[in-house]
Symmetry: none
Subunit: 333 residues, 2 copies
Amino acid sequence: MGRVKLKIKRLENTSSRQVTYSKRKNGILKKARELSILCDIDIALIMFSPTGKPTLCLGEHSNFEEVIGKFAQLTPQERAKRKLESLEALKKTFKKLDHDVNIQDFLGASTQTVEELTNHSRLLQTQLSETHKRLSYWTHPDKINNIEHLRAMEDSLKESLNQIRAHKNGMHLPLGMSVEQPQAQPISWLPGNDSQHMMLAEDPNLLPHRDLECSTDASIPSYSGFFSACKTEVDSSGQESNALNELSRNACLRLQLGGQYPYPSYGFNLLDEKKLKTETKMSLHENPVDFQVNSGFEPTRPGYDTSHQSWASTSGPCAIAVFDQQSYPQQPN
Amino acid sequence: MGRVKLKIKRLENTSSRQVTYSKRKNGILKKARELSILCDIDIALIMFSPTGKPTLCLGEHSNFEEVIGKFAQLTPQERAKRKLESLEALKKTFKKLDHDVNIQDFLGASTQTVEELTNHSRLLQTQLSETHKRLSYWTHPDKINNIEHLRAMEDSLKESLNQIRAHKNGMHLPLGMSVEQPQAQPISWLPGNDSQHMMLAEDPNLLPHRDLECSTDASIPSYSGFFSACKTEVDSSGQESNALNELSRNACLRLQLGGQYPYPSYGFNLLDEKKLKTETKMSLHENPVDFQVNSGFEPTRPGYDTSHQSWASTSGPCAIAVFDQQSYPQQPN
DNA sequence: AGTGTCCATATTTGGACGTG
DNA sequence: CACGTCCAAATATGGACACT
């Protein structure tokens, strides 16, 4: 009876859902692979069958943590921006469909607000950056090659030292403590000293590439043969195999992504770029990894129904970023 | 001329790659969406355009972290937890719109965005405060009344002094620069000194490029492009060296800071964090799940080739990650 | 660079059925 | 239950061109 047009709506029949999943899964995986090869891009696709069985597909030379990490690196601003972009797209769709406006107004306003906030954030970010920069010179004097600067710093330090000593002396001098006491412990008392830290996905140290059977190399044709009957299809990639590593690595990622990240005090390594990034990135997930059903507002894809049940971190912000793409007016079914 | 059969091989023409990406991206996104809806599953798709622009697509009720996390832990246990019922209503409501837009979503998304940004701003504000506070300790030691702290600071300063001296001495007298130059000017870059511009920053030589992160990001052309994407050019995380001038400076700095050189011992315990990070990572890696290659494939009918790859986790319940998929009989081209 | 449109053809995939 | 097979209708998408 030939193919039947299907309404894009949850298939109520469990069996059909499974069969369809199976078929379409193959289809989408193939598409993903083709896309990654044709356009030579990074791509990662994860899906869970109706039964919960997970499937991962990576581009020819993609590696999971890399992709996720890269994505995770997007700053909140960026995410927000992207989100707005997708909203724009929707807006456009709306317009086209001659659909109503209320929304547009809303969007407009929202955009405005968002923009403001974004600017503010940007400003703060810049300030922070500046400050960190300044601090960095003190933290890593060895990075300075200008002897004049060093000399100046030295003098400054001497002066500060004197100041401190003077101040100290002005205070009660506890038990005959030696002023010259060799310094020992790190200045942990400084504000914000905190050990917690998030790791960055892209940090090679944190996510060592593990190339087991597949990984990167796998991406190559030769690899392709790997489990498949070496077909004519050399392009078959099969990064998927990486799962193994991918999975294990995930843990890390998850940590990072899932956002628990007790906010480290901005105290210390402000200087550390990585951290900075992390902070920025994580800023959205200040909470501990608590997964909670956040059925409330998972942004659903327009036009579709949703049955959600998502475990979103309460703070959930970050998470969703780009969803772009959606719209495509459904063809009338 | 109708559609032409395309060999699944990297498109050498840059332009075609982009066009193709654009088209296929839409296609695959649509497929992903449909699949998630039809089969009511969780799905996450991330891809980067040939230019590096990231795109994320989540299932109807998926949450990025959740998906990644779930995948990571392979904790399928409650997968079944679908609360379809409650959604039926929503579904119905929007279904009749026959298009993809869901106002609720707009609201949700935007709200979230605003929320995110707000949080981010707050966070940055806090960080700034902290940082300033920290700086103030050094700028106004007289405000400190804890002798221990003063002592620690003093020691730290001494240490820094030594470091600087050592570094200074270790330097060869820079090219013809007069060492005797009178050093008089105020040390404007001293901590606490709010002089806006870091004189040091201006000197590229002071900021040896260390491309750590960069290298990574660099691999993806425009990934960093997101900065440029922003009209105004934000520097939220600037890894893009070529970005803006003002940004590039930061970039350098950050790179430098993010470097792996040994942290100075005197001050902030950066090391601790590092260690901590490592530990965390490790623990995560020893994820209970242990994978095994279960490569089994069977050359199917002539002309087909299937490769399935599944990794089963011994411990995890569902633990099976399947990666499969690839090759579908490539019709002889 | 990124999209949208047209058209003709390449692919995908419901349904129904068969197998382990 | 998970797939492989068939067939015909539903879709996706190269190539060319236009717009922004």
